[in-house]
Subunit: 153 residues, 2 copies
Amino acid sequence: MENPMKKSLLAAGLAVTLVSGSALAQMKPEVMVKQRQAAMTLQGKYFGPMAGMAQGRIPYDAKIVQRNAGFLDNLSRMPWDGFADSTKDVKSAALPTIWSESAKFAEAADRMQSEASKLYAVSRSGDEAAVKAQIGAVGKACGGCHESFRQKQ
Amino acid sequence: MENPMKKSLLAAGLAVTLVSGSALAQMKPEVMVKQRQAAMTLQGKYFGPMAGMAQGRIPYDAKIVQRNAGFLDNLSRMPWDGFADSTKDVKSAALPTIWSESAKFAEAADRMQSEASKLYAVSRSGDEAAVKAQIGAVGKACGGCHESFRQKQ
């Protein structure tokens, strides 16, 4: 049976294509959960201040935005191979919909990466209004995925 | 009084220079520890397979190395602002030497970033022997810092 998540991740040229099957099989599910949570934690670290700037709570600083957007562009590609089937039963905030609606989840993951990548590009342009709008788009990608695939916090 | 760690981090053009003082002051120490640990976890995720390849335990794959080295180059810049003075008393594997020998710690942190950056550059050259040697240099930078500044695991 075709795995739509795998297909979509392959289409996006993602991490999972670069990890050999045997390496994934050897990986403990608990370690994979810890690693994907680490990627979420760091996305929060670097997105948080940008969200604050877009909302006017923190003074806008183009240098911080460029640095954070570059980090986020990288980090946005790191969580997804951690949602392997083998991790289904590990306690976490991940909802079963990740695996039961895997195509939709993969689409949400792709969107996050795409918006983060756009933000990095826009952050280098120096156009503050465009940067703030794109920070909003990234926030929407985070929130959209959390809404459907993460337990309410 | 001059803070040698801050000076060195500034010299290296690091993260800490880009976080406003007020933002750092507002950050809970427990959150900072969680974020720096997340960066260590992900450095392990992406360095591990490269170490395996350098040691011949995993077949060499230039594409994985390039991707992982790019991620590691970014990740190697993420932990350090998490070692703020305010985190001294939070339970973790961090040794008090981080703060009592802060110049030496900053030097070890700089070395890690420098070696990771070199690895990313070398990984794009395609010279397998040079890449493997540089993976070794990165491993030495990780280990050297852990030896002096992390509780024995």
